[in-house]
C-alpha cells in the first residue's frame, strides 16, 4: 500500500496550477487528498504528477451573496461546517456536511474535491444536483461554468477536461417558502450512505406544494434527481402519504446491489429515505 513514484508541485496560483495541468503528462489536482491518496496507495491510481492547490488563498473563500453561496476549491468540509455565513444562508449545506465522513477527514477533504471526485455516494454531489448549482473551472484556454446537471457522467467520472480544474462551486440559496431536508442510512457513522435522499420543497401561499424534487445518492452511476411535481403540486405531502410516494419512488429508482445491500433492499431504502426527507419538509 505505497504509491508509485510521483512528482509533487505546490501551485503558487490558479494560473500556475492550470499551466502545470496543461503541460505535465498524467497530472492530477491535489486538494484534500482524501479520495485520491487512498487510491494511489492501493495503486489504483498512479498519476506521475500531483499539483497541490490546497494552499491557494484565492481558492479559500466562502462568498455569500443575495442569491448564492460560493465555495472556493481549497475550502475544507470543516470550514464549510464552521462557517456561520454559509450555515445561515443555506442550512442544507451544514446538514449535508455533518453526514460527510469523520472530523479528521472533513478537516482535510474539500467540498469541491468531492464534486470533482464525482462519487455518486457523495453527499455534496446530491446537494449540488438538487439545488441546480454549478461549478466554475479554470484552464489555460480559459474558464467555464458547468451546471450540476452536466457535471456528473458516471461513477468517479465528471465532465471536467483533463486540463481543467474546479475553482469554485456555487449553490443557489432557497426561497422564503422553500424547505429542504437530508436523510440517509449508512452502515456505520460517517460511512458512505447505503442510500440517501435530499429533498427541496417549495410551498405556495396556501401552504400547498408548488414544486418538490429530491436527489438520491448511492442509487445510480450519478446523483439521481426525481421531480415530485406531478404527484404533489397543489396538494400537501401528508395528504399524498407514505405509500403513494414510496411506490412512486420504487418505480423510479433502479439501484445496483453490492456487498452492503441487495438492489431490492437499496431500492426499498432509497424510497424510504425519499419519503423521510419529504416528510421532514412538511
Amino acid at each position: 500500500m505505497k504509491p508509485s513514484p510521483f512528482s509533487y508541485h505546490p501551485a503558487a496560483s490558479v494560473d500556475e496550477a492550470a499551466q502545470l495541468l496543461y503541460e505535465l503528462e498524467d497530472a492530477k489536482i491535489l486538494a484534500g487528498g482524501q479520495s485520491l491518496i487512498p487510491l494511489m496507495n492501493f495503486r489504483l491510481a498512479s498519476p506521475m504528477h500531483l499539483i497541490d492547490i490546497s494552499g491557494l488563498a484565492e481558492l479559500s473563500e466562502i462568498k455569500v451573496s443575495e442569491t448564492e453561496v460560493e465555495i472556493g476549491a481549497s475550502v475544507t468540509h470543516s470550514q464549510v461546517l464552521q462557517s456561520e455565513q454559509a450555515g445561515s444562508a443555506l442550512p442544507l449545506l451544514v446538514e449535508a456536511e455533518k453526514l460527510i465522513a469523520h472530523e479528521v477527514i472533513r478537516n482535510r477533504g474539500t467540498l469541491c474535491g468531492s464534486l470533482a471526485h464525482a462519487d455518486p455516494a457523495g453527499e455534496m454531489t446530491a446537494v449540488i444536483s438538487v439545488l441546480n448549482g454549478r461549478v466554475d473551472t479554470a484552464s489555460v484556454s480559459g474558464g467555464r461554468t458547468i451546471e450540476a446537471t452536466d457535471l456528473f457522467e458516471g461513477p468517479l467520472q465528471s465532465s471536467l477536461r483533463e486540463d481543467e480544474l474546479i475553482v469554485s462551486a456555487t449553490f443557489p440559496k432557497l426561497g422564503p417558502r422553500t424547505v429542504s431536508s437530508f436523510r440517509e442510512v449508512a452502515r456505520r457513522h460517517g460511512d458512505y450512505a447505503v442510500a440517501g435522499a435530499v429533498s427541496v420543497v417549495e410551498y405556495d401561499n396556501n401552504d400547498q406544494v408548488q414544486s418538490a424534487r429530491a436527489a438520491f445518492l448511492s442509487v445510480g452511476p450519478v446523483p439521481t434527481v426525481v421531480s415530485f411535481d406531478d404527484l404533489l403540486r397543489g396538494t400537501r405531502i401528508e395528504d399524498v402519504g407514505h405509500s403513494e410516494i414510496y411506490n412512486f419512488l420504487s418505480s423510479q429508482l433502479e439501484p445496483h446491489g453490492d456487498l452492503q445491500a441487495s438492489a431490492d433492499y437499496r431500492r426499498h431504502l432509497a424510497a424510504e429515505m425519499g419519503w423521510a426527507s419529504l416528510e421532514a419538509c412538511i
Partner: protein, 792 residues
Amino acid sequence: MTTQSFGKAIRRTEDDRLIRGHGSFTDDAGSAGLSLTMIRSPYANARILSIDVSEAWDVEGVQAVLTYNDLPGRLVEPLPLLIPHPSLVAPRTQYILAKEHVRYVGEAVVAIFATDRYVGEDAAERVIVEYEPREAVVGIDAALGPNLVHDDVPGNVAADHVEHVGNVDQALVGAPHVLELDLDMERSMGSSLEGRASHATWDRHSRKLRIQNATQTPTSVRFAVANILEIPDEQVEVFAIDVGGGFGTKVIHPWPEDILTAWGAIEYERPVKFTEDRVEHFISSSHERAQRHQIKVGFDDEGRILGLDVDFVHDNGAYTPYGMIAPLITATQLPGPYKLPNYRVRFRSVYTNTVQVTPYRGAARPHAVFSMERTIDRIAAFLDIDRAELRRRNFIQPDEFPYDLGMIFQDGRPAIYDSGNYPELLEKVLAMIDWDGFPERRSQTPSGRRRGIGVACYVEGTGLGPYEGGHVRVETGGKVQVSTGLASSGQGHHTVFAQIVADELGVPFEDVEVVTGDTRRFQYAVGTFASRAAVMSGNAVAEAARLVKEKAIQIAAEALEANPDDLEIVDAQVQVKGTPARGIPLAQVAVLANPLRYSFSEAARAATQFAGAGDLDEPPIKPGEDPGLEAAGWYSPVRATFASGAHAVEVEVDTATSEVEILRYCVVHDCGRLINPLIVEGQIHGGVAQGIAGALYEKMAYDEDGNLQNASFMDFLMPYCTEIPEVEIDHLETPSPLNPLGIKGAGEAGVIPVSAVIAAAVEDAEGFQINHMPLFPSELHEMRLMNAEVSE
C-alpha cells in the same frame, strides 16, 4: 499494612506511555536497513507455471528477489504444524514461498528485499508470474463438492472427529419431543490495530540474531526461527516490547515473513523489517468463524434436554498450521452451563481456497454458544416456556462442581468444570435488564420500531497449561523487577502482574516494574492466548514473589538476629511483626543477599567481605543457596479453569430500514477473583465490541473465485465506537479451586455469547427464526419479505 492492590481498579501503568506515543512497536524499530515486500497470489487455486524476476533486480535499491527455488536449507520445507491431533488426518501447512501451487489469494509467492517498501512495491510491479488457474473451492458447499484444494486430500477433509457422552441415539428415540436446527456463522477476523511485523538484526560480532516481533509468543518464535535457520537457540533473541493487539492471529508462528526477515538479516548483514499492511492483514494472516451446524435435540415436556446431537462443518481455509483447535473448542464448549447427559458431536474440518482459519478471540466458542443458546430458545418457543425458565431447568447446579463433561478439552485433558454458579449469573443479568418488565416496555415501543429481548449464557475454559513462569528480583536500589516470558498485546500485564507481586512481597505497587515477552529476560514460556496469561503467569509471579519473600525473611532474620517466623514484610521493609522499629529495608536485604568483593556504592559497602557481618566459619553463600534476592516461580495447572457469564440485550429494529439498534447491553461475568476490575471491564467492553462486530457488521465477502471483495476498512465494516453501545457490567466472583490466587481467565469472555444473544433479541422482535449470523440490514429486509410471503 502495605496497601493491598489485588482487587483494586488501578489504572494501567502502560497507558501513559502508549497514549503519549512513546510505545515501542516493531515498526518503530530501526531505520537503515532492508524492507521485505511480498508478492502474493492473485489466484485462489492455481499452478505456478513460471516466474520472471529479472526486471525487478534492475530497480534501484533492490537487494534481492527470491522465489521458492532460491530458498536455502530448511527454508524449503513446509512451515510447522503447531498442534497435531490424531483426528487431524490430513494436516497441511504452507511453504515460506509457494512451491508450484498457490491455494488462496494472498499466499506468498515472491520475496523482495529492498531499501524500503516503496522500492519493494515498485519492483514487485516488474515481476511476471504466470499462473494456470483452477476452479476455486470457496465456502462449505464447495468444500464438500468435487474440486480439491490439495490434490492428495480426498473430500477436502483435514479432520474428522467424533466425541460423545451417554447414548444419544437412544435418548433421541425415547424423547417426547425432537427438534432440528440448521445454523451457520460466517467468517470474520481479529483485525488488530497493528498488523504482523518483524524486525531482525544480525550482530556478527556477538553472533546474535535479535528479533523484535509483533507476537503473542516470543519464546516459540525464537525456537521456530532457530530450528528453521539451523542455528543454536542461544544465538536467537526475540522480544515483543509493545504489540498492538493480537486476538489470536499473532499466536500463529512462524509466519513466512518471520523466517525471511531473520534469514535476510544474516544473509545480507543488514537489518530487515517486514510490516504487514492492512490489505495483507486481510488476505494473508488468519480468519475465523465459518461453521455450519446441524443440530438434533430431544427434550421432555418440561424442556429438559435429554439428548443433543451436533454435526458441524468447519471451513479451515487452505492450511491448518494450528491444527484443529478451533472446531475442537466448539465441540467441547458447546454444552455450556447445561447438563447434557447424552451428547454427541461430530465435526469435519475442511479445506477451502481461502485464508487459513485459526483461533480468534473466543476461539470458536461463539459458534458453540450460538448453537446451544439458539437450541434452548427454540425449545422454549416450541413448549411456550419463558426462555429464562428453560435455562434454569437445564443448568448445572452450584453444588455439582467439579462437574465432569465426559469429554477431552483442547489441552488434551478431561473437561471438568472447577467451579461456578450459573443460576445466580442468570438471575443477576435478568434483574439487571429487568427481564420481567419487558412486556410493559415492549407495549410502549414507538411506531416504526419493533422491540426484542434476549439472554445467553456461556462457559469458557481458560488458563490452559502446560505452564508459565515468572521471575522476581529485588534490586539494591529498592525496585522490584518482574519478568515473564509471555508477551502483552494490550492486556495490561504490566499493571496486574505488578499488583500481584506487590501484594505477595509486601512492597508498594509503584516499586514494581514488569517486563514481558523478552527471551533475554525470561526464556521459558508458552504464550498469551486462551485467556491464560493472568491465570498462568499471574500465579507464577505470585509464586516467585513468595520465594523471594521467604529468602528475604531468612536473610533479614540473620541480620536482625530474629526468628524468621516472627518476621513480616510491610511497605518494603522486613520487620518483626507489628514492630516497624525493628526492621531492615528490603533494598538493604538485597544488598546482603549478594556478598561482594568490590564496593561500588555506599550501600554496596555493607555487603563487602570486610563489612563484618556473618559467621566466619560458614561460606558467604551457604550450600543450597544462591546469591541475589531473586527467584523464578512456576505454575502448571492440572487442567483448565472454567469462567462463565450471562449476557442480556434489548434491541429495537427499525421497520423501515431493518437496522438493529441496541438499547441496553448487560453482562454478568464470573472470572473468579478479580485482580483489577477496571482491566476486566475493559476486556469485556472490547470483547463485546468484537462480538457486536461479528454479529451485525463484519464478514469476509469472498466471491466464487476466491477473491476477498472487502479487503479494506472501507468495505469490511469493523464498527467504530459510535456503533458500540454502553456495556453495563456486574461481576460474580466464584474463586477457582485450581490455583492459589483463585482466578480464571477474562480476555476472551466478552465476545463469546454476543451473536447468540443478539440473534435471540432480533428473533424476539421480528417473530421469525434467526439461524444465521452475521445479520445485516439487507438480509433482515429479505427475511422479512420471505416470512411475510410465508405467512400470507
